[in-house]
């Protein structure tokens, strides 16, 4: 019983370490003054008002949402098709191909960013919107392939054979039989890809140029130059969105 108590106390300490910082900054985002320490002299919503202004915060947020959505769409289509192909029986060298596809997860992001920057400089894609979407698709697509592949492992292949036997074309069978059954996996993969892009800052710094300011870049520069409660207000909003996404993913898994 003594061991159990030690485990419980340790768990509480670790929960404090893991969640404490995320809770400790929240009240300061409602501060009436600009310094970042307790006790707070008063409360106000001025920092939330500030981050809801069009520039720079809402502009950066909008850009991040658009880049994130487009790269997610691209990653989901490419990744789902590839995962479906990879999990077919008799796919040649599927282990090797999977290793190629997930390598953007393993290569350090700063290395990917440098290579992409050199390549995009040749192609004229540096500081362009499409360049950023492409680079974020590369980073997000492994998550789609992994999530969809693992969902497909529970997919019963006989359903597909039955569809073929009843005369369905492969494309028709995919959209009416396979896709509805793996939809949860595809949505989960898409969420991973979106979060990857939405939180990405290294590639955005390297290839974004002055034009493509994303929300993480805006936050990075804000923290680096002069951190004020408006960054904490934006952080609080993002934390809320994160919790909602987690709840949504949890519900998806339960279904």
């Amino acid at each position: 019983m003594k061991t159990n108590r030690i485990i419980a106390v340790y768990s509480c300490v670790m929960m404090l370490f893991l969640l404490g910082p995320l809770l400790a900054f929240l009240p300061i985002s409602f501060s009436s003054v600009s310094f970042l320490s307790y006790p707070l002299p008063g409360y106000s919503l001025q920092w939330y008002e500030k981050v809801l202004q069009p520039t720079p915060w809402m502009f950066a947020l909008k850009n991040s949402l658009i880049v994130g959505s487009l790269s997610t769409a691209l990653a989901t289509v490419l990744g789902t098709a590839a995962a479906f192909g990879l999990t077919r029986k008799n796919f040649p060298a599927s282990g090797f191909v999977l290793a190629l596809i997930v390598s953007p997860m393993i290569v350090p992001v700063v290395v990917t960013a440098v290579g992409t920057y050199f390549m995009f400089a040749k192609l004229g894609l540096v500081a362009t919107f499409s360049g950023l979407v492409i680079a974020h698709t590369v980073l997000g697509v492994p998550f789609v392939v992994i999530t969809v592949s693992s969902t497909l492992q529970t997919f019963d292949n006989r359903l597909l054979q039955a569809a073929y036997g009843l005369g369905a074309s492969p494309i028709h069978a995919f959209f009416t039989i396979v896709l509805p059954l793996i939809a949860n996996g595809v949505i989960a993969g898409a969420i991973f890809a979106f979060v990857t892009s939405f939180d990405e800052v290294v590639v955005a710094i390297f290839i974004g140029g002055p034009q493509q300011k994303t929300l993480p870049r805006q936050m990075f520069e804000g923290i680096k130059d002069n951190i004020d409660p408006s960054i904490l207000a934006m952080s609080a909003i993002l934390l809320l969105v994160t919790i909602l996404l987690m709840v949504f993913l949890g519900l998806l898994r339960r279904r």
Partner: protein, 391 residues
Amino acid sequence: MTIAPILLCAPLLVFLIVFFFAPLAVMLSYSVRNSEVPIVLPNLSKAIATWDGLGLPPASVFSALALDLKSNSDSMALGEAARRLDFEVPGYRALVFKTARRLQADQASTSGRDELTRIDARWANPRYWSALNRATASLTPAFFLAAFDLKMDDLGHITRVEEDRRVYLDTFLRTFQIGGTVTLLCLLLGYPIAFAITVLPRRFAAALTFSVILPFWTSLLVRTSAWIVVLSKDGVVNSFLTRLGVINEPLQLIFNRTGLYIVMVHILLPFMVLPIRSVMQGISPNYMKASASLGAHPFLGFFKVYLPLTLPGVGAGCLMTFIIAIGYYITPALVGGAGDNMISFFIAFHTNSVINWGMAAALGVVLLSAVLLIFGTFGRLLGLSRIVALK
């Protein structure tokens, strides 16, 4: 029937080849190629190839250089070439600009050895010519040598660079040391967390799992700014400790190595906990019961039976944590001190600030090789699917 799966995979593979593998190949080529000088000094590059590299080159080489510098009209390209030469011999940049300016102002056509040495006596020094020779070869080891604080001297021997310019070896060592320390701290803190999740009552375990996963999903920058608030001089931790009377002066907890360790451990802990937890959840409690019924003390049972069974999860967690840690850029830049730069900092510095692409590429290739080597050695042992099926 066999071609369809390949066709489904093809679009993604082509996309990755063009936008991921080709960029890595471009980086690799930049790390060994000499392009700046031959573009600006085409005649010289041709002429110097015939020189045996001993003493001073023949007069034709001098004339070729004078001709190239005189006819140069692209000052930006000349700047890049001058910077490349400065990388070989400090001060070369100024010499190139001075010589080009004087040659272009001087209308007399008696170019060649006399004119160059009259403009600057350094042109009579073989050192500057062997640097030119090295910078015009189509492939160069200079950037890779520099990545290890080495250089090619005028006689073609590999030597260490001057003491005050040795930065990269130390930085690589520091990168691996920070990565190793963070991995070890994550293992020491994370292993008991994973164990607790598997043995605690259901609700308590769910709450603990939630507190591991929430930071995992939260934006890196949100977590970083949260820690800056918590650890700063008048932050939560310092004011709490001061009020308790534990300390009189606030502790320096951030913008130094301590802060870097705290924040990196917080960020990377989930990468350690989640794979260990998934292995632990697959271990039947019957093993421990069996070892106890055979008379083993719980401690002996833990070390002899339980711990070895969890090693695949430990391996996957350590591998992922270490690999992510040594590539870190954002966190050291925001919460580290001046002496805590990791190798990513120099990669970014050479790409975005000083524009020495060859150097950025060589450092990138070294970091990439280290990661692939570690991954190739240990990843094979553990199996790719265990390592990447994290989230």
